[in-house]
């Protein structure tokens, strides 16, 4: 009886605590986050455009120039993640640093680095794909499904 009683009190306390927490919990400053994401994401893409124009000026085709730009951006995202700069940026920029391809590189390096102590196969090798894996899986599924429909129509 007394055990049940204290259990009930506990539950009541938890509910009251939850309610209080909801009231005082800081709301994410939405506008500030949106501006941060816009500016940082925009700037990263502008850097991409600088490389794109540079490679186009070297007489590469649009396709090759895009591939080279992607390669450089991935390299930079991986390097700055290693240096510890990219996650610092992410704390301020949110999606502005996650959504560009540099964020994809970040999602590869960060967990691989974190789990290095678990070895080079199950640590680095496996954790490289914690986020990149799902992205590639669903990306390929999308391209095969849309490709099949395209093939049927044409």
């Amino acid at each position: 009886m007394s055990l049940n009683d204290s259990g009930y009190k506990n539950q009541q306390f938890n509910q009251r605590y939850q309610k209080m927490y909801e009231q005082v919990k800081p709301k994410p400053p939405l506008v500030q986050n949106l501006v941060g994401a816009f500016v940082v994401g925009g700037l990263i893409c502008t850097v991409g455009q600088v490389f794109q124009n540079y490679f186009l000026a070297m007489n590469l085709s649009v396709k090759s120039a895009s591939a080279m730009t992607t390669a450089v951006m991935i390299f930079l995202g991986a390097l700055f993640t290693g240096l510890g700069v990219y996650d610092e940026l992410g704390r301020r920029a949110g999606a502005g640093s996650t959504v560009p391809i540099t964020g994809f590189a970040n999602s590869i390096v960060a967990p691989a680095m974190e789990f290095k102590r678990e070895g080079y196969v199950l640590g680095v090798g496996a954790k490289l794909f914690v986020i990149a894996g799902p992205v590639i899986v669903y990306g390929l599924l999308t391209s095969v499904v849309t490709g099949f429909i395209y093939w049927l129509i044409h």
Binding site: L34, G42, I44, A110, M113, Y138, Y150
Partner: protein, 117 residues
Amino acid sequence: MQAYIMAFLVGGLICVVGQLLMDLTSLTPAHILVLFVVLGGILSAVGLYQPLVDIGGAGATVPLPGFGHTLVSSTFEEINNSGFLGIFSGALKGAAVGITVAVVFGFTMAVLFNPKG
């Protein structure tokens, strides 16, 4: 100069959509990356992503939907060139540089550096 401004605007707006999803839903960054690649692929398939690339340049190709666009547009191109087999060969052909570079430099940086703190 205009190319840089358009890249900034289009790239920035795509990231704003991501930020809205992050703040207003319970989707994690991983979910948003997957969602954006799939969305980019679907928009590409219905012919809506290429115009965005024409307008925004790197502003449309650098964000993750651009990766979806690469996968789907190169699949379609392969289907035009080699028929049925293209359904399965196109995407990775188009994304070969990106995926290989990501694995090689991702591995290298993870080995060279240690996490802060």
